[in-house]
């Protein structure tokens, strides 16, 4: 065999070996590994992490739920072991809102709503990315949508002091409205006037 052929073989052989290994990995991934819904599993892990990263000590948090009778938000206290990081706390508070009122107030978010992602920027803007299920089963309307949005915003401001404003996204995108009425293109600052002060 000539020297030139040896050289060619030396170059080609490693390429062939690496290619075969890559092909083997690809084949295993495509045909043998069960399809993993990466997005869903990542969200589940984040939710789990938020719930498990609690500081241990249970403390009373105030959640605001819509009262359509009054057109206001009703405060509801419940014990919650809040996480150490602000992002995890935000997720915990929103998940508690999704869980719903225990005193018969309205539901701000649909029961199947998922929090896809939470970001808290240095200027105190909390970005909440909901799944589209957050809108399913929601009764549209100016009052109902306004109360739903401020239920989230005021609950976060009450329990996570670092949150100054809230921006709501759906499926990772900015959307025009929650369900045809309330403008979601801007971010929201907490509005304490939405909270009912008198006894029901």
């Amino acid at each position: 065999m000539s020297r030139r052929a040896w050289l060619l073989m030396l170059v080609t052989l490693p390429v062939l070996v690496i290619g075969s290994l890559y092909l083997r990995t690809l084949v295993r991934r495509v045909f043998f590994e069960a399809a993993q819904p990466a997005d869903a599993s990542a969200r589940a892990r984040l939710t789990q992490a938020a719930l498990e990263s609690s500081t241990g000590a249970s403390q009373s948090v105030v959640l605001y739920f819509p009262s359509y009778q009054e057109g206001k938000l009703r405060a509801e206290s419940r014990p919650l072991s809040l996480a150490a990081s602000d992002s995890d706390r935000i997720r915990q508070v929103v998940l508690a809102l999704v869980e719903g009122s225990r005193q018969g107030s309205g539901q701000p978010l649909a029961a199947g709503a998922e929090v896809r992602a939470v970001f808290l920027t240095a200027d105190g803007t909390a970005y909440l990315d909901f799944s589209s299920a957050a809108l399913a089963g929601f009764t549209p309307g100016i009052e109902s949508e306004t109360l739903a949005v401020y239920s989230i915003v005021d609950s976060l401001a009450a329990n996570v002091p670092a949150v100054k404003r809230v921006k709501i996204l759906v499926q990772g995108q900015e959307v025009d409205t929650l369900d045809g009425h309330v403008d979601l293109t801007n971010d929201f600052v907490p509005d304490p006037t939405r909270i009912a002060t008198a006894a029901p």
């Binding site: 009262s67 359509y68 009052e143």
Partner: protein, 504 residues
């Protein structure tokens, strides 16, 4: 140093250089002036029952051609294609079509037919001249075809297009165009590049005239266009400063557009509430005490009130337990409010949507802003708890108010902040409406509230949203759908407008 004085360069070389330069210039000119093989592209619209298709037209040597196979697929089912060299056979149902490249003759079931221009092949597609549609197509299908030679649209099957004609009447300060439609159409207006575009909804439309060049002091051209499959009328004003006041009449069968000079600052001062017995101040020649015509300029058009019925089309909004959709309920209410306002002869009423259209938020706001209204009222229905019937009035709640000082310096107001300068007036209007609503017996209402209502954000006028309820899956619509209740709402709004205009 000039070329001719270059030392040591032979004279013949210089001559050759000049010749090449001239030849290059001539070639460049020829390339620029030579007509392109494909001059321009238009679209051909095929209207089918409940659908339309847009097929690109090709202009080859100044003759318009259609791609043959996509067209045949729309009129029937192409069961086979056989392409051999310069010829092609197509089977459409039981019929056979035979064509030859560069040949005017085509054969349908072996019977020859001569087209005005030869069949071509462009980018691998067989192309037939436009007259193929009226000469050959009816022999290939049993479907009903409606085609006017020369048009760029065809109606296939059970499609009855709406037609329209336009009349023009002079106004003292402009021109009135009235479009008369054979059927009710859903109209929404927008502006683009200084022209007004009147969308005619999804119905197929066949104009009597494609376009009209007008010798008019206000309007230069009125043109119909459906090149994207969406019928629309494009009105080109003579001057970009003219105002456009659209009105839909006769349940959508008539559309009136007043193109008038802008209202002067003096006439923009809001008039006080007119006495109930006052006659309409509708534009037109005014009469003096003795009834003789007065030559003084006529007053500006009546102030406009824009009514916005929320949702529409595929977006029903909220729904009651007995199935009444928000989009339908608010149309009923808007219709009553419109008639009640119109009966006062003090306002022009402009609707942001007609019928079951679903204009975008910005299209609705554009319609409103074009009319420079004295009030914008957006109607909604939703979950207001168990206290039904209930009405709530909202003004826009901005998340962070813009810097008022900075705005005063700005020549243009950002679209997203158009409502901000009008918020004080909007609150006055909301207060007036809430006050009148509180006088309706058995109706629960509250103080005007503010909410981040998307529809109000970009309205450059006093604007409120009125939500009636409760319309939710837990309750029947009940009294909300009754004419009596809706008429009470309408009457309250007219009273509120009078109070607002009187106090504004």
């Amino acid at each position: 140093m000039s070329l001719s004085s270059e030392p040591g360069r032979p004279v013949s070389s210089r001559r050759h250089g000049r010749r090449f330069l001239c030849l290059g210039l001539a070639l460049s000119l020829i390339i620029i002036i030579w007509p392109a093989h494909q001059l321009r592209s238009d679209n051909f619209v095929v209207y089918l029952p409940n659908a339309h298709q847009v097929i690109p037209l090709e202009s080859i040597d100044r003759v318009q051609y259609l791609p043959l196979v996509p067209l045949l697929n729309l009129v029937g089912t192409v069961s086979g294609i056989e392409e051999k060299g310069n010829s092609m056979k197509v089977w459409l149902g039981s019929n056979q079509l035979e064509l030859h490249r560069g040949d005017k003759k085509v054969r349908i079931n072996r019977a020859a037919l001569k087209l005005s221009n030869p069949v071509r092949v462009s980018n691998g597609q067989w192309m037939a001249p436009l007259d193929f549609i009226d000469s050959a197509l009816p022999r290939l299908t049993n479907q009903r075809l409606e085609y006017r030679p020369g048009d760029q649209r065809i109606f296939i099957g059970d499609v009855r297009p709406t037609t329209f004609f336009v009349t023009r009447a002079p106004l003292p300060n402009g021109t009135r165009l009235t479009f008369h439609f054979s059927d009710a159409v859903t109209i929404h207006t927008t502006s683009s590049n200084g022209r007004w575009i009147v969308g005619l909804g999804g119905r197929p439309v066949e104009p009597l005239e494609q376009g009209l060049k007008l010798n008019d002091a206000s309007v230069s051209e009125v043109r119909f266009d459906d090149q994207d499959g969406v019928p629309k009328i494009i009105i080109t004003p003579v001057d970009g400063s003219l105002n456009f006041y659209p009105t839909v009449e006769d349940q959508g069968k008539q559309f009136q557009a007043d193109i008038v000079q802008p209202i002067t600052a003096a006439s923009q001062t809001p008039p006080g509430p007119a006495p109930a017995s006052a006659s309409s101040s509708r534009p037109g020649p005014t009469a003096g005490a003795g009834g003789a015509p007065v030559s003084a300029p006529a007053p500006p058009p009546l102030p406009a009130v824009v009514l916005d019925a929320g949702h529409g089309g595929p977006d029903p909004g909220a729904r009651s337990r007995d199935g009444l959709a928000e989009k339908d309920l608010v149309v009923q209410i808007v219709e009553r409010v419109r008639n009640t306002i119109a009966a006062t002869n003090q306002y022009r009423v402009i609707l942001t949507r007609n019928g079951d259209a679903d204009p975008t938020f910005d299209e609705r706001d554009s319609t409103a802003n074009l009319a420079h209204p004295v009030a914008f009222l957006s109607f909604h229905a939703g979950n207001l708890g168990e206290r039904s019937p209930r009405v709530m009035v909202y003004t826009y709640q901005a998340s962070a108010p813009p810097d008022a000082g900075a705005d005063a310096q700005q020549m243009f107001v950002p679209w997203a902040w158009a409502q901000a300068p009008h918020l004080d007036q909007s609150r006055q209007l909301a207060g007036a409406i809430a006050q009148q609503m509180s006088r309706i017996s058995d109706l629960s209402t509250g103080n005007p509230d503010q909410a981040p209502v998307r529809q109000l954000r970009s309205v450059s006028a006093p604007a409120v949203a009125i939500e009636v309820g409760s319309l939710s899956p837990e309750l029947d619509a009940g009294v909300l759908a009754t004419p009596d209740f809706q008429q009470q709402i309408a009457a309250a709004i007219v009273q509120a407008l009078a109070a607002f205009r009187g106090g504004a």
